[in-house]
């Protein structure tokens, strides 16, 4: 095979460098893609890349008659080790940043900052009008003041390669309150047309009666006290809204949402991490991918949660709904509860209305403090089902475990446990006439327990 020429080098190191470069660039310019999160999930692709590279080596070596490079050379091993260290370092760095966001580790050595705070002249605006606040980079804080004045205070921060350029950037900036057909529009003229980065942090004081739209491409948004509707769009930052007398919509791309004390409906869409929602008098709707944990508590009308992991509908949640990567937990629902999910463990407590659970894989645990008054319908693919009812419950049960058994603490003359070729069933009535309980699982035990 070998013609005596030197060993060729493998294409693996080259490909690895290209992939890493593209990943770093994407992470920098499209932070909303969550590249690193995807990378943590799909890192075995690197091993595939290794294999493919070696295959290409093998074929090109055969083609040219050179000696085939070894599976892993010392140089490649060193490079891989370096990559692992860099990635681990970045992971730790991100974790620290997440836990202590105020630490402000600044890696931008090539930047000079210049900053100033400007108060715009207050503007009297009509009651009930609509105000829009937009910043490309920076946070927005909005709260309610006395009277009918719209007061805007802007902290302008410019970053540039030298101090003069930063000062020039600040000079060229202008923040305006513009009257439009729909209301008032607070924004900067030429925030983005400059080279360098300009951050505008808005602190806005509004009359209570207005409605507000706040948009930031990168920065946190916090709004409180308004009587009108609030719409928030944040592409890269946290959203906090509380004490609003009307509807709230929030669109996130990254970051957390915290929403409390809302008289109207709440709707959160997009992607992000944590959601915490408390005391909503209308509907609460969450639609999108949120890594969690998600906590929703006390929603008077209907709670909808729609994501790739599942689809939940709860009527009048008096307790709480909690979701994280592996679990869904629901407690105290005054109306019906309908849960469809995959690959989760589900725990449900005290649903007063009808309960429907459809799961493909995972364990289900349902507990009732009061005897059930409405039907219970549980369908599981692979996993256990554990239902606990008070001793004085009346119900009609049909439980089937296709490859498992059904265990029951309840005993009644009409209750018939059976085992046919590995399929466990339990059918019959307990007590006087009551709601129907239907439980099906393909693999796993069904427990029907009496609470003490």
């Amino acid at each position: 095979m070998s013609n005596g020429g030197p060993q060729r080098s493998s294409i693996f190191s080259g490909l690895l460098l290209i992939v890493l470069g593209v990943l770093f660039l994407l992470a920098r310019f499209h932070p909303d893609l969550g590249i690193w999160r995807l990378f943590w999930r799909f890192w075995p692709v690197l091993i595939i890349l290794w294999g493919v590279a070696k295959l290409v080596d093998h074929m090109s070596a055969q083609h040219s008659g050179d000696a085939r490079p070894p599976l892993l050379t010392g140089g490649e091993a060193a490079l891989l080790l370096l990559v692992v260290f860099v990635l681990a370092g970045m992971g730790i760095y991100t974790k620290i940043r997440e836990k202590h966001p105020d630490m402000n580790i600044d890696l931008d050595l090539f930047k000079h900052k210049n900053s100033q705070t400007v108060e715009l002249p207050p503007k009297t605006i009509p009651a009930g009008t609509h105000v829009t606040v937009t910043t490309a980079l920076g946070g927005i804080v909005a709260h309610v003041g006395d009277g009918n004045d719209l007061r805007v205070s802007v902290t302008e921060t410019a970053e540039a390669t030298n101090e003069d350029a930063a000062a020039d950037l600040i000079k060229s900036l202008k923040v305006v309150i513009e009257q439009t057909s729909g209301g008032y529009d607070v924004h900067a003229v030429n925030q983005e047309e400059n080279e360098g980065r300009v951050t505008l942090d808005f602190d806005v004081t509004l009359p209570k009666s207005v409605s507000l739209t706040a948009t930031s491409r990168r920065g946190d948004i916090s709004i409180s006290g308004l009587a009108g509707a609030v719409a928030v769009t944040s592409q890269n930052g946290d959203v906090e809204v509380h004490d609003i007398g009307s509807d709230v919509t929030a669109q996130l791309t990254k970051g957390d949402a915290r929403i409390d004390d809302i008289t109207g409906n709440v709707r959160i869409t997009g992607r992000g991490n944590e959601i915490e929602m408390n005391d909503v008098a209308g509907d609460a709707t969450v639609q999108g991918e949120f890594f969690g944990p998600v906590h929703i508590r006390n929603v008077t009308k209907t709670t909808h949660y729609t994501s790739q992991a599942g689809d939940l509908t709860l009527a009048h949640l008096t307790g709480r709904l909690e979701l994280d990567s592996g679990d869904i937990s629901v407690s105290d629902v005054a109306g019906f509860a309908k849960l469809a999910a995959h690959d989760k463990d589900i725990e449900v407590e005290n649903v007063a209305g009808r309960l429907d659970i459809a799961l493909n894989h995972g364990d289900i645990k349902a507990t009732y403090a009061q005897p059930p008054r409405e039907d219970i319908n549980i369908a599981n693919g692979t996993g256990e089902v554990d239902l606990t009812l008070p001793a004085k419950s009346n119900f009609e049960v049909s439980a089937i475990s296709r490859s498992g058994e059904v265990q029951s603490d309840f005993e009644a003359p009409s209750l018939k446990p059976a085992d046919n070729n590995g399929t466990g069933t339990l059918t019959g009535k307990v007590g006087a006439s009551g709601p129907k309980i239907s439980i099906v699982t393909s693999y796993g035990t069904i427990y029907l327990r009496k609470s003490s």
Partner: protein, 71 residues
């Protein structure tokens, strides 16, 4: 550094191998220029260095060694 008794090799493999250093240095210079005169900074663009190095390394290992001299 090169051994005077050995002729310089002109096969594609060795040519590209010699390119890596210069190309990297040129890229670093270009990136600093871009950082100085556009809205992008070197801190944002450094992964381009990885990509350039990767491209050169891949090209090197795919290059033919026909006519290679020396060991």
């Amino acid at each position: 550094m090169s051994d005077p008794t050995q002729p310089v090799c002109h096969c594609p493999y060795c040519k590209i191998r010699g390119l890596l250093g210069p190309v990297m240095i040129i890229t670093v210079g270009i990136l600093f220029l871009i950082g100085e005169y556009t809205r992008f900074s070197f801190v944002e663009l450094w992964p381009i260095l990885l990509i350039v190095a990767g491209v050169v390394l891949t090209a090197r290992s795919l290059a033919s060694k026909e006519g290679h001299l020396g060991s």
